[in-house]
């Protein structure tokens, strides 16, 4: 574990924590622009976080310690997720702590805690949100796993740092299984990050909310940490996608100075990705809850076909 590695890890975590709300603000701004509305300022999420952190937190009488613990646990999980995904460099000491499968497990851990916390109060919306979130999760998690498996089969490794390194050094090949994996990954990230067409992050109607229902009873610093964690999740998903499908520009193990160029490259990639996300959100309509399992099943099956196509074209 060289100092460069520790520095890279630290920088990555700081960048994630500081940059995730910025990414959220960028997406919100572009979505408003594409829909011909006047855009909120770019730093709006930071103002929201500050406002929430300063306020008093109101907790229900019947809440158990699980309810109060959940925002912190989710925040912790998302921070670790951002730390594991190679965004700036593949030389990360924490990367050996969790590979791709453990990353999916980490996201599942956060989702489970959130669902349990929502069920804790026993309100109608909380339990409904827990049920819907687990519904989205139970199909999204295998789809994500299979997408990561597609790349694992190509790179013969499940360690994220190794996967990124192998993908970056491969001769440029148009791999159809990666095409399938890419489409599946896009669908999964839309679902898991509660974006249209799966869920509207700004709605509070009973018919339409999935993720918001889980946050309904939180306020003050708990809500701030939940929102921050959601932003970190979006950041982590975007970085996973970029690392697997567009891995060029990430610093390698023996070239720590490349991190200096890695930061603007990452920023550029995230900016383009954010605009694309805003575009997808503007062009699609939110689908009915009953159609969401079909949508996610499509992603799951596309990822599986990606695996099969890889086997076919290799054998």
């Amino acid at each position: 574990m060289s100092t460069a590695a520790i520095l890279a890890q630290f920088l990555e975590i700081v960048l994630a924590l500081a940059g995730a709300p910025l990414l959220l603000g960028w997406v919100d701004q572009w979505r408003a622009r594409l829909q011909n509305k006047s855009a909120p300022p770019l730093l709006q999420p930071y103002h929201v976080l500050h406002k929430l952190l300063v306020k008093e937190s109101v907790v229900a009488d019947s809440a158990s310690p699980l309810f109060r613990m959940a925002p912190y646990v989710k925040f912790g999980c998302m921070t670790l997720a951002c730390a594991i995904v190679p965004t700036l460099s593949t030389d990360l000491p924490l990367a050996s702590a969790a590979d791709a499968i453990a990353l999916v497990g980490l996201l599942a851990l956060a989702r489970t805690f959130l669902a349990l916390a929502a069920m804790d109060l026993g309100t109608a919306f909380g339990t409904m949100g827990a049920r819907r979130d687990m519904l989205v999760g139970f199909l999204a998690e295998p789809a994500l796993l299979m997408t990561l498996f597609c790349t694992s089969l190509i790179t013969h490794s499940t360690s994220l740092a190794n996967m990124v390194q192998s993908m970056a050094h491969r001769p440029f090949v148009l791999d159809p299984s990666l095409a399938f994996a890419g489409v599946a990954f896009t669908i999964v990230s839309l679902a898991e990050n509660t974006r249209i067409p799966v869920d509207n992050p700004a709605t509070h109607l009973e018919l339409t909310m999935i993720h918001e229902a889980l946050l309904l009873e939180y306020s003050g610093r708990h809500l701030a940490l939940m929102e921050w964690a959601a932003a970190l999740k979006l950041f982590a998903y975007s970085c996973i996608g970029l690392a697997l499908f567009l891995p060029w520009g990430i610093a390698e193990i023996d070239a720590p100075l490349a991190m200096i160029t890695a930061v603007p490259v990452l920023a550029a990639k995230l900016a383009v990705g954010g605009i694309l996300l805003a575009l997808i959100e503007t062009v699609s309509a939110k689908m009915r809850i009953f159609r969401v399992p079909e949508f996610l099943a499509t992603a799951f099956l596309l990822a599986v076909i990606g695996l099969l196509v890889h086997q076919l074209l290799q054998g």
Binding site: F172, V173, L174, D175, P176, S177, A179, F180, V183, P293, E294, A297, T298, L301, L302, V304, I305, L308, V309, Q311, L312, L313, G315
Partner: protein
């Protein structure tokens, strides 16, 4: 450059498979027509690439014909038919969509397995994609079976022909022109008959739901 073009054929095959699956999961008939157009465009791309790489000029003609017919003419006709018959949405398919997709996966595995020994015999540049083409044919056939309205069935029939065309390109570097024209004529006649058929159903039952055809059974309806 040539290697890259060779891989692009694989990519086109993948897009074809993705479109076949998307067709199974779509409910809006308009989206089906758009997907069919996309399929045609991918086919044109693949045929042109094979033509360039194997220096067979008759494939350029074939690609031009495909462009004219499948990307321009037939989708326009379909649009007009949809407007005349005023159908927008399909009713629920006979088996629900997730089950259909699971069957689709099984068909994909089946065709991949079937194609492996055949692909080893072929000497074409795109032989690895034979399995995918076969899968597209089977998937389109399944789409015809599970759909409840007439127009998606027609589109499934046309998509089947697309898959066959791609299979021919993949396995044997394109069919002889005569065979191709013959198949094209068959498809045209088939589409005409189906078109007449659809109008008759519409007149008789005032709807394009093929389940109404069950009323024409001989036996007593309980």
């Amino acid at each position: 450059m040539d290697a890259l073009l060779g891989q692009s054929i694989n990519l086109d095959a993948a897009v074809l498979l993705m479109v076949s699956f998307a067709m199974i999961s779509q409910r809006r008939i308009l989206s089906l027509v758009h997907l069919y157009t996309l399929q045609g465009a991918t086919l044109v791309l693949a045929t042109t690439t094979v033509a360039y790489l194997t220096h067979q000029d008759h494939l350029y003609v074939s690609a031009a014909l495909t462009l004219g017919l499948k990307v321009v003419l037939i989708p326009q006709l379909l649009h007009r038919v949809i407007d005349r018959l005023d159908v927008r949405w399909d009713v629920e398919p006979l088996i629900n969509i997730p089950t259909t997709m699971l069957i689709g996966i099984a068909l994909v595995v089946f065709s991949f397995n079937l194609a492996l020994p055949i692909a080893q015999l072929s000497s074409s540049i795109a032989r690895a994609t034979l399995g995918i083409a076969l899968a597209c044919v089977l998937l389109s056939f399944m789409m015809m079976i599970v759909r409840a309205k007439a127009i998606p069935q027609v589109i499934g029939f046309l998509a089947m022909e697309n898959g066959l065309f791609f299979a021919a390109t993949a396995a044997t570097n394109g069919m002889p022109m005569i065979v191709e024209l013959g198949i094209g004529l068959d498809v045209l006649v088939g589409a005409l008959i189906l078109g007449v058929f659809m109008f008759q159903i519409r007149e008789q039952f005032d709807s394009l739901d093929i389940r109404h055809l069950e009323k024409l059974r001989e036996s007593e309806d309980r």
